[in-house]
Amino acid sequence: MLTAATEYLRSLSAGVAAAWNRFWFTPSDAYPLGLIRLLTGLLATYFHLTLLPDVERFFAAGGWLSPEAVERLAVRGGTASLLDFVSSPSELLAAHLAGLAVLVVFTLGLWSRITSFLALAVILSDVHRGPMLTSQFEPVLTMVLCYLCLGPSGASWSLDRLLAVRRATTPVAQAALANAKASWTATIAIRLIQVHLAMLVATMGAAKLYGGTWWVGSAVWWLATRPESRLVDLTFLGEYAINFWTHVIVAVELAFPVLVWVPLLRPLMLVLAGVVWISLALLTGQVTFAAMMLVASISFCSPELLRSCCCTARRPAAAAA
């Protein structure tokens, strides 16, 4: 009996270790990572840019959001921001524009290994300096930016790639370049985005079930009747439609973290989740949040699929040109 138990534990640990290594360390194509970097960079730039007109009003010495007020509301101690070191309007503007330049360079994929860390620092500085200006979008944005630092996010869809292709004139250099596109660090980055996203969606679903409105099917009504936030007025919907929509949101958020790992169901879950994020954008006006969830979901798409989609999109454009 003891021998059988020992043997079982040995085979279990060997199986878990092999699966762990296969999951995290199988070298993979960095193509999806490059696409995620490009789209995340665009959203990060947009977020940072929209703070520009108000940076003095919010963050200057004597501004609306004094450092003391922000510190006071941080229940577990404040977090540092690069903006803590500047307070005059001109310094703030310069720091903000420098951050904007970093984000643009990161989005274009130039010096990606360095600019990915700098982009994360810029966005975290914004978030930590004014957490009361943030909502659901920023935690997803910083999550993806954080993991983009770990992988070769500039290996595709980037100026880095373009420059490397131009430099690689010999067959040896071209072979090395092809090799550089696939790496185990790309796998780590993609896997972390996948796992963190699945956990986050599970948290969203569980948090919804903590309140009665999502159980009784009225939550969508309470979102639709917030005229300041919503994108479109959907209060014309009947009660059954409201109930159905509410239940679908919860069902998808609870199913996604589990079923997205099943290859056969993955496309279905990604489409359903996409519909839910877009519908929540219409209901709540959280367009950037929905866009960020869609971008993070790209981590579940295979490089082959993304390549074929992008090639299909490029062909008509080239033909038109």
Partner: protein, 255 residues
């Protein structure tokens, strides 16, 4: 589509050495454990989860992985539980300038563009409204900071700051056909939950003295407006239907 990152048609690159794999695996395990603590403690953390979250707070907060970093929820991932704080809010600051001119500002200001800018202002107003329903200690923090700054920029020595919650329509109100009842921007839809007098000393010191707070305000009686909301979460609220404002996800932070 594949959850296994595919290798495409590129030559197989080197996998990491056993030593590197071991080290990276350890780091991955620790990281994912801490991330999981940050996420599972979002809704209703146990004492153990709360302690673990406090322990890992520097890591979680620095990377913005803590979904409850403040005395109020920033990202409401539950979207709504129809709690009093799950509505949009407005902050009004009014003052009489030394010249006698009356000036006021409403936050979010109308016409903000692009929409993302409006989202920043709305989030700030909602944070101030949420704090009103929580710990007394945190209630005046944002009104003082915002109104103090505005009054100083106007050169005003005193003024008032008021936070209104924009109450949602019940489904029957929306369907009533009566323009007064179904107007989402009608006057009766705004409920003042906090009002305070703000004094700015010549040295720039800001003092705030509260006139009303959430519990003392007389908001529009939603039950009186309509008692048959969809399900049980609207007009006919039952104690067991939903968590209280003080115990909803994140709302307990800082209490």
């Amino acid at each position: 589509m594949s959850a296994t990152p595919a290798t495409s048609n590129v030559p197989a690159p080197q996998a990491p050495s056993t030593e590197i794999r071991g080290l990276v695996s350890l780091l991955l395990f620790i990281h994912l454990f801490v991330v999981a603590i940050g996420l599972v403690s979002y809704t209703a953390p146990s004492a153990l989860e709360e302690e673990l979250r406090k322990f890992f707070a520097p890591y979680l907060a620095t990377l913005n992985f803590d979904l409850n970093p403040n005395a109020y929820p920033t990202g409401r991932f539950y979207m709504t539980h129809d709690l009093p704080v799950d509505v949009d809010a407005q902050i009004h600051v009014d003052a009489t300038l030394p010249s006698g001119e009356e000036r006021s500002i409403t936050i979010p200001e109308p016409g903000l563009w692009p929409p993302e800018r409006r989202r920043h202002y709305q989030a700030m107003a909602n944070a101030a409204s949420t704090l009103v329903g929580g710990d007394e200690e945190y209630q005046p923090v944002l009104p003082r900071s915002i109104a103090g700054s505005i009054l100083r920029s106007w050169g005003a020595a005193r003024g008032t700051v008021r936070i209104d919650r924009h109450l949602p329509l019940q489904i029957q109100e929306a369907e009533s056909g009566d323009p007064e009842r179904s107007d989402p921007f009608g006057r009766n839809r705004y409920s003042p939950v906090y009002e305070a007098q703000v004094l700015v000393s010549p040295s720039g010191q800001v003092d705030i003295s509260k006139k009303i707070a959430a519990g003392e305000a007389a908001p529009v009686d939603r039950n009186a407006v309509d008692k048959s909301a969809p399900g049980t979460s609207g007009g006919e609220k039952k104690a067991g239907d939903r968590p209280s404002a003080a115990t909803g996800p994140s709302a307990q932070e800082g209490n």
